[in-house]
């Protein structure tokens, strides 16, 4: 198994199956499911375990349903929000 650095969690019930995240993912890690959610949309799922946590999918998602995690210590522009919502997390800023 490749060295995993990132992961995403999708709020599938809010997903509208627009597929914009799918083409935005440089890793080809995600796709639309054959199943549908309560609203009747084919929701997004992970199909490969090669997510790098680049955030692209979350950025283009019009419905803000994706949460992104990344294991590398590299700082991203979202530091401020993270510090607001998490009390005791360690941030590696560089």
């Amino acid at each position: 198994m490749a060295k995993v650095k990132g992961d995403i969690i999708v709020d599938i019930e809010k997903c509208k199956g627009c597929e914009l995240c799918v083409v935005a993912c440089p890793q080809g890690a995600i796709a639309l499911s054959d199943n549908i959610n309560k609203k009747g949309y084919h929701y997004m799922i992970k199909i490969k375990d090669n997510c790098t946590g680049c955030e692209n999918c979350a950025l283009v998602c019009p419905d803000a349903v994706i949460t992104v995690y990344r294991k590398s210590g590299k700082k991203k522009e979202k530091i401020a929000t993270i510090s607001n919502v998490q009390n005791n997390m360690t941030m590696e800023v560089n």
Binding site: L20, C61, A80
Partner: protein
């Protein structure tokens, strides 16, 4: 929201060692209220709403911001933004914002308007607010169509583009040419920052967010009017899938409405 409430992925790949608070890098902002957006699948309005709320949260200015919603698909913008907001009559958002900003000069004010709202029925209010150099931000969603009223021609509709009121394509000899309102207001001395962005790719989403951030900073420095034109899609009325609509932005919209800064404050040139 607690991560535990989120529906888990329908996959065996969930990496429990990664999905922990310590490694969280992107989470939707708290100021974006956690209810379903009413927009069509893939609609750019949702992205711009989220970016505004991200910036406002990150800059820690929730208690300073007052937003003005338009009449258009985003008429309910105030349902999703956990900030004080006013809903303006069609086209009058910049007049309403003028009223707010003039009596509360220390607050940060923005309008959020579609092309019909800002560049057709509200053209006079837009130009005069800009000409007075009203010290607020105008977020202008250019989707080249009247979204809410189901797809009539907008002032920004491209030549030849089919809409419900230009069924044979926009004939400029009858309906005139698309109005490049950003280029127009950039000439006014009261305007400090005009830029055109899009939200059809991750990179452009990042640039749009940066622009919003800058505009609020300029407002804090009393620099004058800022206008951010965001090229956005309307898959429903363009009769396209979301993916096709983003391709249309890339291939048809951007060549006509080039992306990038149209005007920046003098010091930065």
């Amino acid at each position: 929201m607690d991560e535990k409430d989120l529906k888990l992925n329908e996959t065996e790949f969930l990496n429990e060692d990664i999905c922990v608070a310590e490694y969280l890098v992107y989470k939707k902002p708290e100021t974006l209220i956690d209810i379903d957006l009413h927009y069509c699948p893939g609609c750019g309005h949702g992205v711009v709403h989220r970016l505004l709320m991200e910036v406002i949260e990150e800059m820690n200015i929730v208690d300073k911001v007052i937003g003005v919603a338009p009449v258009g698909c985003s008429v309910f913008a105030y349902n999703y933004m956990d900030i004080d907001m006013q809903e303006a009559a069609h086209g009058r958002a910049t007049a309403v914002a003028t009223g707010i900003k003039r009596v509360l000069p220390d607050k940060l004010v923005f309008t959020y308007q579609g092309d019909g709202d800002l560049a057709a029925i509200g053209t006079a209010e837009t130009i005069h607010a800009c000409n007075r150099g009203e010290n607020f931000l105008i977020v202008f969603i250019n989707n080249a169509v009247y979204g809410m009223t189901s797809g009539q021609m907008a002032p920004t509709t491209l030549p030849g583009m089919v809409t419900t009121t230009t069924p044979f394509g926009r004939d400029t000899s009858i309906t005139g040419f698309p109005l490049k309102i950003s280029e127009l207001v950039a000439q006014l001395p009261g305007v400090c920052y005009v830029t055109r962005t899009s939200v059809h790719t991750a990179g452009n989403v990042r640039r749009t967010k940066k622009a919003i951030q800058k505009a609020f900073e300029y407002q804090m420095q009393n620099k004058g009017t800022c206008l951010i034109e965001v090229l956005s899609n309307c898959p429903s009325n363009w009769k396209m899938t979301p993916l096709e609509s983003n391709k249309f932005i890339e291939e048809e919209m951007i060549p006509f409405y080039p992306l990038g800064d149209i005007k920046v404050p003098k010091e930065e040139k």
